[in-house]
């Protein structure tokens, strides 16, 4: 007789165990993120249960402090600037790498995605050495260029995969009807790769917004970013303002995820 392995009491317990462990893993993944949210609205100074009275005090402290609000605004300024740069540079490079039979193409590709693989500390230390001799440490342009370098790989990969789905015949058709290369790029290529540009840009933005290791090496007192401020504060003393700062970062990350989901559905 052939046993059906998907039926019977043993399989039932097996399935129950599997789905239970699935939920447990999910709880493990979400708990350290979700624990921050209720505590950020509690007036207990000790950042632990039981929850105290509801308060917005830690948010008021966050937005009243030039140090924290400044870090938030600075993070945005750096993320927006480096995203624009990364989308332009990465998008152009991805278009360039489409040309077949380019000697050294593989090498260029590897170089352009290298920041994804090289440990952040090594990138940070190396840039620190170079920036120190060039006088670029503690400057806004220096930090923006560093973040751009870290963000370019995401644009190259995303635009590259969007271009992979682009039909070469459409470009030939445009050219055969007398379109100039510039017109073909604007009317055919760009609309078709725009999903890749958008998702690459979102990844680039998220990368810059979360970056902390390289920033620790390069940023001066005027380039505080939110994750850097959180890192130094968490290392010195666990202040409850960290709760509101963390919640704000979680909210932004969730918004980015929602935006990218709704854009990819279109």
């Amino acid at each position: 007789m052939i046993r059906n392995p998907y039926r019977g009491p043993l399989a039932w317990f097996g399935n129950l165990g599997l789905s239970l462990s699935g939920w447990l893993v999910l709880a493990f993944l979400l708990l350290p993120i979700l624990v921050v949210l209720p505590l950020s609205f509690s007036d207990s100074r000790y950042m632990s249960l039981p929850l105290g009275q509801f308060t917005l005090h830690w948010y008021e402290e966050f937005f009243a402090s030039p140090q924290w609000l400044g870090a938030l605004l600075n993070s945005f300024a750096i993320a927006v600037t480096s995203t624009i740069l990364a989308v332009v540079l990465g998008g152009l490079a991805a278009l360039g790498l489409r040309h077949p039979a380019m000697p050294g193409k593989r090498l260029i590709e590897v170089l352009l995605i290298a920041p994804m693989i090289v440990p952040a500390v090594i990138v940070g230390v190396g840039m620190y050495f170079v920036f120190s001799s060039a006088g670029l440490t503690r400057t806004f342009p220096g930090l923006v260029l560093a973040h751009t370098t870290l963000a370019v790989p995401f644009v190259v990969v995303n635009v590259g995969s969007a271009l992979g789905g682009l039909n070469q015949r459409l470009l030939w058709a445009a050219a055969s009807m007398g379109a100039t290369p510039w017109m073909t790029l604007r009317k055919v290529t760009l609309p078709l790769v725009s999903p890749g540009l958008i998702s690459g840009g979102l990844f680039a933005f998220a990368t810059s917004l979360d970056e902390v290791v390289v920033t620790l090496f390069l940023a001066g007192p005027d380039q505080r970013t939110l994750p850097r401020e959180m890192f130094t504060t968490a290392r010195e003393a666990l202040s409850p303002v960290l709760l509101s700062a963390a919640t704000i970062m979680v909210v932004f990350a969730s918004l980015l995820l929602l935006v990218s989901r709704s854009l990819s559905k279109r």
């Binding site: 052939i2 789905s19 632990s48 360039g96 380019m102 170089l111 620190y128 050495f129 190259v156 998220a206």
Partner: protein, 280 residues
């Protein structure tokens, strides 16, 4: 063809200045004589930094600690990730995408925020210790221990394990599994002899990726570990901005870079084999 180079030129210029030059300078500095009074002596060459790394027991301990923490994190990610990916691969449509988003979400949240969340859970009067006390136990020191570092690293790395595994499991031929059952094979034998070999390249690629990324971690151990639980990146940073021995920092950085690159070459080879396995 030449237009290809022209279009990638701006990015290449940036990468020459901000990636190749920094790594090159790191290489040069690692061979330069370093003097605590004068700093780097640009034209005097030495192997002293590397000799120090490979002869001093202090560095052996750092290498060993970095290795065992990464290995243990990888092992835990495999043990947790395989059943999780298996459940996901068998889930129905609405739940599957909900679970996938929820597993993806932590990836988008800064490691600083996640480390802070763990410090809230594991602190002296954190949620975990409160639970232990409710159950009648005595509070345990969890924060600033290797335990805190490892659990938080598993938390960061688990999605990196689950996604390649999911791809491998999706490419797995279920007919082979049913065929094995129909010929009377026991479930465990089917799992180890029919199912696992098909998933193994994806599993190996994911595990190696977890190991590689964990080797270079800085933030999580710095926030959750004690002074004796720090990994190699911490010392690279410390020698660079703390004790200002740039030569030693560079040599240590290059050791990490070479290890990472070699492992990555193996990893991409495995990953390619994993995706070919589908069509075999």
């Amino acid at each position: 063809m030449s237009r290809g180079y022209l279009l990638s030129l701006p990015a290449l210029l940036l990468f020459t200045g901000l990636l190749i030059l920094p790594l090159g300078l790191t290489l040069v500095l690692s061979f330069n004589v370093f003097d605590y009074q004068v700093g780097v002596k640009a034209h005097e060459w030495t192997l002293a930094h590397y000799l120090a790394l490979f002869s001093d027991a202090y560095f052996y301990e750092i290498f060993w600690r970095t290795f065992w923490i990464s290995a243990l994190v990888t092992l835990l990610c495999v043990v947790i990730g395989v059943p999780e990916a298996y459940i996901l691969s068998r889930m129905g449509t609405p739940w599957r995408s909900i679970f996938l988003i929820l597993i993806l979400t932590p990836l988008l949240i800064s490691v600083v925020v996640r480390a802070f969340g763990w410090s809230l859970l594991l602190g002296a009067d954190g949620l975990v210790n409160q639970l232990i006390q409710v159950l009648g136990g005595r509070p345990v020191k969890l924060l600033y221990t290797p335990f805190a570092v490892i659990i938080a690293l598993v938390h960061v790395m688990l999605p990196f394990m689950v996604f390649p595994l999911l791809a491998a499991m999706a490419g797995c031929n279920r007919l082979l599994v049913q065929a094995a059952y129909s010929m009377g094979a026991r479930p465990l034998r089917v799992f180890f002899q029919v199912y696992l070999p098909q998933v193994l390249p994806g599993l190996a690629a994911g595990a190696l990726m977890v190991f590689i990324v964990t080797l270079g971690f800085y933030i999580t151990p710095a926030l959750l570990g004690g002074p004796a639980d720090q990994m190699i990146s911490f010392y690279i940073a410390q020698f660079t901005t703390g004790t200002l021995n740039w030569g030693l920092a560079s040599a240590l950085g290059l050791v990490l870079l070479v290890a990472t690159t070699l492992l990555y070459l193996i990893q991409s080879h495995l990953a390619r084999r994993g995706s070919e396995g589908v069509n075999r």
